[in-house]
């Protein structure tokens, strides 16, 4: 085990995959000369050169679309969007092109491409730089959608994403970039579509994504002191969704709380709750619950923003209401 920052785990994954496969390249805004807005590609430009690590103009639709063209012609592009909010600028190329071309071609084409995009609030970045787009993207068929939690997931899932022959949207949480995690180097790849039980427990299942996994674990620590045993399931992947792990856990605990930072309405909690309902309904001891960001644009002031986004305190409070 060694300690590593989340951002360096991303950078290591990119570096190792680029070294392994000459068809992997990175493009996006500020990825080359300064090593990424969040410093997730430091040193790669110097190591792999201008053609493989490409600073693009601010043309999100243009360079996401170029990624599609590259992927159709033998390359494996990793396209970085500086903020997941910018996916909306490139939505046609990501959703109508990248995700649908294989289907529209009747299986002739594959689009082995990764879009990396940071999600999440907490930086006083206001309504256009703080959103979590995993629910919106998951609405559309044709893409895999990953929400890594720790540096281990960030590295192992990104490497799997780059090797996957399908389009993958890879959401990194911007509040985790500077955080340090223990990483086990004997785990090289994390399979896409497998949830991970980060903490075993008996009283309630907390199914969480991305940064909310760490918040759920903190909440579980606090709740243990009150005698509540939480099972924390790190979903890791929204598409494909590991239903079996969630269902098995809920059958054991009898309660399910879903925690995700995207907007609540039509969100991840709504989908997962409904998705497993038929399988767990008769095992439930309480209604399925969710914690998400309420449907307001993310505000700027910390005094307004922090009460809005999910937190360990909110998780503790909700679990208490469900279990005590």
């Amino acid at each position: 085990m060694r300690e590593i920052q989340y951002r360096d785990a991303i950078c290591e994954a990119l570096d190792e995959e680029m070294a392994r496969d000459g068809n992997v390249l990175l493009l996006g805004e500020d990825v080359a000369f300064i090593g990424g807005n969040f410093k997730t590609s430091v040193g790669l430009y110097e190591k792999y050169g201008d053609l493989r690590v490409k600073d693009t103009p601010i043309s999100e639709a243009g360079f996401v679309g170029m990624g599609v063209g590259m992927a159709l012609t033998g390359l494996r592009p990793v396209v970085e969007l500086m903020f997941s909010d910018f996916l909306l600028v490139a939505a046609d190329q990501a959703i109508n092109q990248m995700a649908k071309i294989r289907y529209m071609s009747g299986g002739q084409a594959a689009v082995p491409m990764v879009i990396r995009a940071p999600i999440g609030g907490g930086r006083s970045s206001a309504a256009q730089h703080s959103q979590s787009m995993q629910a919106m993207v998951s609405h559309f068929p044709g893409m895999k959608v990953l929400v890594p939690s720790t540096a281990q997931e960030a590295k192992g899932l990104l490497k799997s994403a780059i090797r996957d022959d399908n389009p993958v949207v890879f959401f990194e949480h911007k509040m985790e970039y500077s955080n340090k995690f223990e990483i086990d180097d004997s785990i090289e790849l994390i399979p896409i579509g497998q949830a991970d039980i980060k903490r075993a427990g008996d009283d309630i299942t907390i199914a969480a994504t991305s940064s909310q996994v760490m918040k759920s674990l903190a909440a579980a620590d606090a709740l243990a002191k009150e005698g509540v045993s939480c099972e924390v399931v790190d979903l890791r992947s929204i598409i494909p969704l590991d239903r079996a792990t969630i269902i098995e856990s809920v059958r054991k605990t009898g309660k399910l709380l879903i925690v995700d930072e995207a907007y609540e309405f039509c969100g991840i909690g709504a989908e997962i709750g409904m998705n497993v309902m038929e399988d767990v309904f008769y095992d439930l001891d309480a209604p399925i619950a969710r914690i998400a960001t309420p449907n307001v644009p993310l505000p700027f002031s910390p005094a307004l923003e922090f009460p809005i986004i999910p937190s360990a305190e909110k998780i503790v409070e909700r679990v208490r209401a469900m279990c005590l």
Binding site: L25, L51, R52, T56, P57, S59, A61, G62, F63, V64, G65, M66, G67, V68, G69, M70, A71, L72, T73, G74, L75, P77, D92, Q93, N96, Q97, I101, R102, Y103, M104, S105, G106, G107, Q108, A109, A110, P141, G142, K144, D164, D165, N166
Partner: protein
Amino acid sequence: MAKKLTKAQRLGFYETMYRMRRFEEEVFEFYKRGAMPGLAHLYLGQEAVATGVCAALNADDYIGSSHRGHGHLVARGADLGKMMAEILGKETGYSHGKGGSMHIMALDKGILGANGIVGGEIPIATGAAYSAVYRGTKQVAVSFFGDSATNEGTFHESINMAAAWKLPCLYVIENNLYGISVDIRDVTNTENLADRAKGYGIPGIVCDGMDVEAVYAAAEEAVAWARRGKGPTIIECKTYRWQGHHVGDPGDYRMRRDGKEKEKWMKKCPVAGFRKKLLKDGFPESMILALEAKADAEVRAAAAFAEDSPYPDAPEAFTDIFV
């Protein structure tokens, strides 16, 4: 300066344009008989553009095609039966009926997909051009799109990047004057759309899109430029579509500026005009008739194949989403 065309090349141009014409007429017949699901955007009238441009390409070059894309496929030698079957939504179509007229992909012919989103193919073709540079090949990519796509952001974003990085890409504007019913002259203050090339610091060529030899000359020049590593070119082909936006649109709105507009353009028919030219240049009519008979038979066979083919089974809808 363009090389003198050989007799075989000129006959080939005619044969391709005639095949395209007949194919689209057959598609229109299916529509009129109610045998075609949905709609199709016919290439009738624009045959010289796809024929001239594709004649300047190699077999391994790439094409990003548009919703009006049947002509590009025919010009690349795509299988007419599989095309027609796709247009009719049949199992034997290029995409097993999942794409239809607007999305016929023939990857083996370098067709990276036809696009239902105006301007959607422009960045994709640009990425293919980047890929060619990356892999160190001499391939070029061509993006075909209509006049209206030049007002999409993807046009600007893509050409800006292709120019900055000298990518081997041709941007072919098929200026048929209308985006559905809207006259490009009413929404754009640029007489020649290729003039926008100046803004990107790249060559822009305006050519007669009803003259296959003129289109070929422009494309040949742009392809040579691209293969020499000089970067992209915008080629604007002035052309016209015989039908409205799609098979169900008579396109009468085009008469508001000039009641004889369509009539005038039809006098410049690229197929009939080139046939006349070949005869004048001494090609025996028997030779032309033989080519026509061959193309007629090919199109009839494609239509029969498509019509006789089964529809896909309903579970087919759930395949080909992921690898």
